[in-house]
């Protein structure tokens, strides 16, 4: 069709200008699609972190920070849970397993490398219910041996029987925990797990309650809250549903933020298309007047200019779509690598269908934004008075 030919030829006539407008759309589509893909990958990765908490209730000492004010001086106060508190929790939890633990850190040295490592001290009989075993055996009560997390073992090439410097003593590794990833309760993969008798007399830092039937979570949580916080607020009780809710809210906020950035860049791109089209209409006034005088209808002139912005949108969106497939892939891989460092389970990137979905959405927005940007200039062109347009020099 001659109107499409004219639109494309006009874009070619001003190649530099057209390419610059195109680059705007390409960047907009890349921003929208790849940020969408990145957001989806992030939420998948974070989703992996919380996927194993559906049966967990976490009880922590109440601190002012949990009320949301980081400047409250009480935030800095050390707080802990006593044996009495644990007993109350156990009473409230009924048949469900209650696992109190101390979380601290200690100097660690293996071969030439040294540093601080997270230490979880638990009751010996609680350890198997929280951690799976990869090799060796679980630490026995009052034994000098320790269990190490799988990633720590990999990094320092530790095996059952290896010796490590742990605080001021030299201890033997008796077991290696299976890789578990980060949960809301503990993150054992880079930690050392010992029995609590090493810290005898110390209060606990938190209590994990494993609920057998996840339908009971609300009930158990209410019972603990009622039992321990009866007189004053001593503990914060968090269940996995709340954690999931926080996770979903965070994920939505991240997605909206990233898509917002994409949308803004696309809006900037459509302004540049609007600019190019207004210039194009101004330059071609005489041509428009001529076309109208020899028989082109208003809607044909309108359509010709819309073809021009559509061509920019389609070319920019296709280029942007291909580019965002690459950028999105690498961005997701980078996110995965970053979160992989925290032991997040899950694949390297969002699934193909999700990626394709975001790219198609990005491209669709690119095309729609271009056509919308072309509407006003095209309408101006179509409503030009042919006589005045013909007089234009």
């Amino acid at each position: 069709m001659i109107l499409i030919d004219l639109a494309v030829r006009n874009l070619r006539r001003h190649a530099v200008r057209s390419v610059l407008a195109l680059v705007g759309i390409v960047i907009g589509v890349i921003a929208l699609a790849s940020l969408g893909i990145l957001g989806a990958s992030l939420s998948l990765l974070i989703g992996g972190l919380v996927s194993d908490v559906s049966d967990t209730i976490l009880v922590t000492p109440h601190v002012a920070a949990s009320s949301g004010d980081p400047f409250d001086p009480r935030t800095a106060l050390a707080s802990s849970l006593s044996d009495k508190d644990v007993a109350l929790i156990e009473k409230a939890a009924g048949q469900n397993r209650v696992i109190p633990m101390i979380r601290t850190s200690k100097r660690f040295r293996a071969d030439d490398a040294s540093g601080y490592v997270t230490v979880y001290a638990l009751r010996a009989d609680d350890i198997p219910s929280l951690l799976a075993k990869e090799a060796g055996r679980y630490p026995a009560p009052a034994s000098p041996g320790v269990m190490v997390g799988s990633l720590l073992a990999d990094e320092f090439d530790l095996h059952v029987g290896s010796r490590i410097e742990f605080g001021n003593e030299s201890v033997r590794v008796t077991g290696i925990a299976a890789e578990r990833g980060m949960g809301i309760d503990i993150y054992p993969d880079y930690a050392v797990i010992v029995t609590e008798d090493r810290y005898a007399g110390q209060n606990y830092g938190m209590v994990v309650v494993k609920v057998r039937d996840s339908a009971d979570i609300g009930e158990v949580k209410a019972a603990i809250d009622g039992q321990v916080n009866r007189r004053k607020e001593k503990v914060d009780v968090l269940d996995s549903r709340e954690v999931l809710q926080i996770y979903y809210e965070t994920r939505d906020a991240i997605s909206f933020f990233l898509l917002g950035i994409g949308a803004v860049s696309l809006a900037v791109a459509s302004v540049s298309i609007l600019n190019v089209m207004i210039i194009s209409v101004a330059e071609r006034r005489r041509e428009i007047g001529l076309m109208r005088s020899i028989g082109a209808q208003r809607h044909e002139v309108l359509v010709m200019f819309l073809y021009e912005s559509l061509a920019l949108g389609v070319a920019g969106s296709i280029t942007g779509g291909v580019a965002s497939a690459l950028v999105g892939y690498y961005a997701a891989a980078a996110a995965s690598e970053f979160f992989g460092g925290f032991g997040a389970p899950g694949g390297p990137a969002a699934p193909g269908a999700v990626v394709a979905g975001y790219i198609i959405v990005g491209m669709a927005f690119g095309i729609v934004a271009s056509v919308l940007a072309g509407l006003y200039p095209a309408w101006k062109a179509a409503t030009l008075n042919p006589i005045e347009a013909l007089r234009y020099e």
Partner: protein
């Protein structure tokens, strides 16, 4: 043709409202153009010649009075109807040639045809009229910028004739051409008139006006 005059102006006036005051471009003009006539409209600059031609070409509407084309009154017509009328019944030829620079010679001629007919039919008709205008086939694919003034005006006449209109409206068709080329162009127009086309031509040049069979003088918007 239905025996009606091809153009009839009844007491037509055109007033432009400008910030400096109203300008009367046409002042109670009445005239008739019969089918097959060749008319030269002459007059000084600003006398209203172009306004008259624009009204005949349905590009402008009168402030008062009535215009009939082949018996049909045009003042009540919509923009789309007027555009269709221009496309199917009127051919325009301009002093500046006014070819579309992005299109080749043959595509320029095709343009008004292709809006209604298929590509093959438009190409066939465009080729036919370009040959009738004695344009070398080798120049068909040239862009307007690659053609001489005379060649461009031949293409412009071919475009005006492509839809086989009843009426040709020419605004200084030789104004940008040398004498020899101008004569060749006028010979082509005269031949079209002999074939039955009605021609109304605005010109300053008495020699060019000599091709017409009737002359209309216009001064200050009035026929004299």
């Amino acid at each position: 043709m239905n025996g009606e005059p091809i153009i009839r102006f009844e007491d037509v006036s055109k007033v432009y409202s400008l910030p400096a005051g109203a300008v009367v471009a046409l002042d109670h003009v009445s005239l008739t153009v019969d089918a097959g006539e060749f008319i030269a409209v002459m007059g000084p600059s600003g006398s209203g010649k172009s306004t008259l031609l624009n009204m005949m070409g349905c590009l402008d509407v009168p402030t008062s009075g009535k215009i009939y084309l082949s018996g049909k009154e045009i003042s009540g017509m919509s923009d789309d109807d007027l555009t269709r009328l221009r496309r199917d019944h009127i051919g325009f030829i301009f002093q500046q040639f006014n070819l579309i620079p992005l299109l080749s010679a043959v595509e320029n001629v095709e343009f008004p045809v292709i809006l209604t007919a298929g590509r093959e039919e438009s190409r066939r008709r465009a080729t036919e009229v370009l040959r009738a205008m004695h344009l070398d086939d080798a120049l068909f694919s040239h862009k307007p910028g690659e053609l001489s003034g005379g060649e461009q005006q031949r293409v412009a006449i071919a475009r005006a004739l492509a839809n086989d209109p009843d009426l040709l409206l020419c605004d200084e068709p030789t104004g940008n051409l040398d004498t020899k080329t101008g004569t060749a162009i006028m010979d082509l127009l005269a031949a079209e008139n002999r074939r039955g086309k009605t021609i109304v031509m605005v010109t300053h040049d008495p020699r060019v006006a000599g091709y017409a069979r009737r002359r209309i003088q216009i001064v200050d918007g009035r026929l004299v």
